[in-house]
C-alpha cells in the first residue's frame, strides 16, 4: 500500500481560530536539531514541524490540533515550550 498523504489537505476541513503573532508552541533556538526534534517532523499528526533549508527544525502551529504529542516527547528535554492557546483560540472541533 503506497498512499501519498498531504497533511494540509486533511487539515483543510478543520476549524481554527489562529491567535496571530502568538504561537502557543516555540522551539528552542538551535544550530543542529536533536533526534527528538527531528522525530517531530514525522510524528506530529498536523505536520506542524518541518526542517528548514539551513537544517533547523521549526514549528508553525497554525494547524495544531493540541493533542500534546510533541509536548510529551520534547518538553522535558527543553527542546520545545508548550502552552495552551489563549481561551477561545486554537482548534475548534466541529465533531471531536
Amino acid at each position: 500500500m503506497t498512499v501519498q498523504v498531504r497533511v494540509e489537505d486533511k487539515l483543510f476541513q478543520n476549524r481554527y481560530l489562529v491567535d496571530a503573532g502568538r504561537p502557543h508552541i516555540t522551539v528552542r533556538p538551535h544550530t543542529k536539531p536533536s533526534e527528538t526534534l527531528l522525530a517531530l517532523t514525522t510524528v506530529c499528526p498536523a505536520g506542524c514541524y518541518a526542517e528548514t533549508e539551513s537544517g533547523q527544525v521549526e514549528c508553525t502551529p497554525d494547524g495544531c490540533m493540541e493533542c500534546g504529542t510533541c509536548r510529551v516527547l520534547a518538553e522535558a528535554s527543553g527542546d520545545i515550550e508548550w502552552n495552551y492557546p489563549r481561551g477561545g483560540y486554537g482548534v475548534l472541533f466541529k465533531f471531536g
Partner: protein
C-alpha cells in the same frame, strides 16, 4: 479579580469535568467551571462510545434529550494483515433493549448537551477561559486558579482538576508528572459522512442499531496500537491510535497510517464515497494502574484522563472519567456537609471511593498488560497477525494440497516465527497479565 468565592472550581469541561460540576452543583454547591474552548466540547475528541450505566448514575433520564447516535448491537474484532481480515463477531438482539447499554456519540454535540445540564444544575460555566496556573498558599495548599482574563484570580475551597490527558496545570504545580511517551497513545481520527441508509446496508443494521469494529494487526506497522470504525447515524468515525514512544522510534507518520488503514481492502468499501468533514488528533492514556498519579492533596483532586484513568484492554475511558468525576464530587459534598475543611486528609475519601469502585478494580486486574503489550509489540501486533492470516488461508484455500501437509506448514510457520518456547511463553505471559 472575580470577587466571588466558590465552593469548588472545576478545570475543564470534558466527561470528568462535566460529571463533577453537575454532581456538585446539583447538590447545592457554588461551582465555577472553566473551559478554554469556544464552548464546552470544542477541544474534546473521542471515538466515541458512551456507556449508559455510568451516565445513568449522574443523569438517570439522559435518554430523553441527550444527542445519541446509535445503540450498539454488534462488536467485531479484526486481526488484520495487509490483504486480509480474520474476524470474531458478537451480535445480539438482546442489545435491542428499552434502555440500551452502549451508544455511539459525537463528542462536541454530546458535550454541549452535558454542559447545558451542568448550567441547569446551577453551576457557572465560563468558556474561552484558559487556566494558566493553580494558586497555592505558603504551605502548598491549592486556594484557587489564575486565568488568562483580566484580573485573573479566582478563589475556591477546592479545585477539581479535570484538564484531560494533555493537562498542563497540575504538572506545573508539581502535583503530578507529565505523561511519559510509553504511557500515552496518539490517536488520529476522521469523520466520514454517508447517508444513513448506506451505513445501514453496509453494516447490516437497521434503525438506530450500530456496529463497532476494533482492529489490530499490521495496520499499526509493528507499533502497539489499534484501529477502530464506529457507526454514527450519518457518519462513520474511523481512526487509529498507537503508543507515542513507538511513533517516535519508528518515525511513522500518523497521517499516513490512517490513510493506509482506509485503503485496506476490507475497510475501503465501508467508507467508499464518503465525505470527510474533520481530521482530529488526541492522546489516550495507556499507562494503566501503574501510571495513576497522586489523586488528591490539600485543596485539590484530579479526575478522568488527567489522572490516566483509562482501561486500555476494554477501550473504556469516558466511563472512568464520568465515574471519577462523580466520585470526587460526592466526596467533596460529604466533606462540605460535615463542614470539614478540604484538606488532604479529608479528600483521601475520594481515593477510597475510587479504590472501592470498578474503576480501580478493573485497572488493577490489568496492571501488567501495558508493559507486556508495549514491550512485545512486534510479536502481538505484527508477527501473530501475519501467522493467523497464513493459517486461515491454509485452512480455507482449496488447491489439492493434502490437509496434513497444510497443517504441517502452518505449524512450521508458527514455530519458525516464535519457537515453541516463545509461543508457550507468550500464552503464559498473556494469561498472567489478564488475571
Amino acid at each position: 479579580m472575580i470577587e466571588e468565592r466558590f465552593d469548588a472550581i472545576v478545570i475543564g469541561a470534558g466527561m470528568s469535568g462535566n460529571a463533577a460540576a453537575y454532581t456538585l452543583a446539583s447538590r447545592g454547591l457554588k461551582v465555577l467551571q472553566l473551559e478554554r474552548g469556544e464552548y464546552s466540547g470544542s477541544k474534546n475528541v473521542q471515538g466515541a462510545i458512551m456507556y449508559a450505566s455510568m451516565l445513568e448514575k449522574i443523569i438517570p433520564d439522559f435518554r430523553e434529550d441527550a444527542p445519541l447516535e446509535r445503540h450498539l448491537i454488534e462488536q467485531r474484532f479484526w486481526m488484520m494483515n495487509d490483504r486480509s481480515v480474520t474476524a470474531m463477531q458478537y451480535r445480539s438482539d438482546d442489545f435491542n433493549e428499552d434502555k440500551p447499554n452502549r451508544y455511539t456519540i459525537i463528542r462536541s454535540q454530546f458535550d454541549k448537551w452535558f454542559s447545558s445540564k451542568v448550567k441547569e444544575a446551577g453551576a457557572i460555566v465560563l468558556a474561552e477561559t484558559t487556566v494558566t496556573e493553580l494558586m497555592q498558599d505558603a504551605y502548598g495548599k491549592v486556594i484557587g486558579v489564575r486565568v488568562d482574563r483580566e484580573g485573573g484570580k479566582i478563589m475556591a475551597d477546592v479545585v477539581v482538576i479535570a484538564e484531560g490527558v494533555n493537562g498542563l496545570i497540575g504538572q506545573r504545580a508539581g502535583l503530578r508528572d507529565a505523561p511519559k511517551p510509553d504511557q500515552v497513545a496518539l490517536a488520529v481520527k476522521e469523520m466520514h459522512f454517508l447517508p444513513s441508509d448506506v451505513i445501514e446496508s453496509r453494516f447490516n443494521i437497521k434503525g438506530d442499531e450500530g456496529v463497532v469494529i476494533e482492529a489490530i494487526g499490521t495496520l499499526s506497522q509493528g507499533m502497539t496500537g489499534m484501529g477502530f470504525i464506529y457507526t454514527n447515524k450519518e457518519s462513520i468515525s474511523l481512526g487509529i491510535g498507537c503508543l507515542i514512544s513507538d511513533f517516535a522510534k519508528t518515525r511513522i507518520s500518523p497521517a499516513k497510517l490512517i490513510e493506509d488503514f482506509k485503503a485496506h481492502p476490507a475497510v475501503a468499501p465501508l467508507i467508499a464515497g464518503s465525505e470527510v468533514k474533520e481530521y482530529a488528533a488526541h492522546m489516550i492514556p495507556e499507562g494503566g494502574y501503574k501510571a495513576i498519579p497522586q489523586l488528591y492533596g490539600d485543596g485539590w483532586v484530579v479526575v478522568g484522563d488527567a489522572a490516566q484513568f483509562n482501561n486500555a484492554v476494554h477501550r473504556e475511558g469516558s466511563n472512568l472519567a464520568m465515574t471519577t468525576g462523580r466520585l470526587a464530587a460526592e466526596a467533596i459534598f460529604q466533606i462540605k456537609s460535615r463542614r470539614d475543611p478540604m484538606t488532604k486528609e479529608n479528600l483521601a475519601l475520594y481515593k477510597k471511593m475510587v479504590d472501592d469502585s470498578f474503576v480501580m478494580r478493573d485497572l488493577k486486574k490489568y496492571k501488567d498488560m501495558p508493559a507486556l503489550l508495549h514491550t512485545n509489540s512486534q510479536n502481538f501486533f505484527k508477527t501473530y497477525p501475519e501467522l493467523v492470516a497464513k493459517a486461515m488461508e491454509n485452512f480455507v484455500r482449496v488447491d489439492g494440497t493434502p490437509k496434513v501437509e497444510k497443517e504441517k506448514a502452518t505449524f512450521k510457520a508458527w514455530r519458525a516465527a516464535r519457537g515453541i518456547r516463545g509461543l508457550v511463553g507468550d500464552v503464559v505471559k498473556l494469561a498472567r497479565a489478564w488475571n
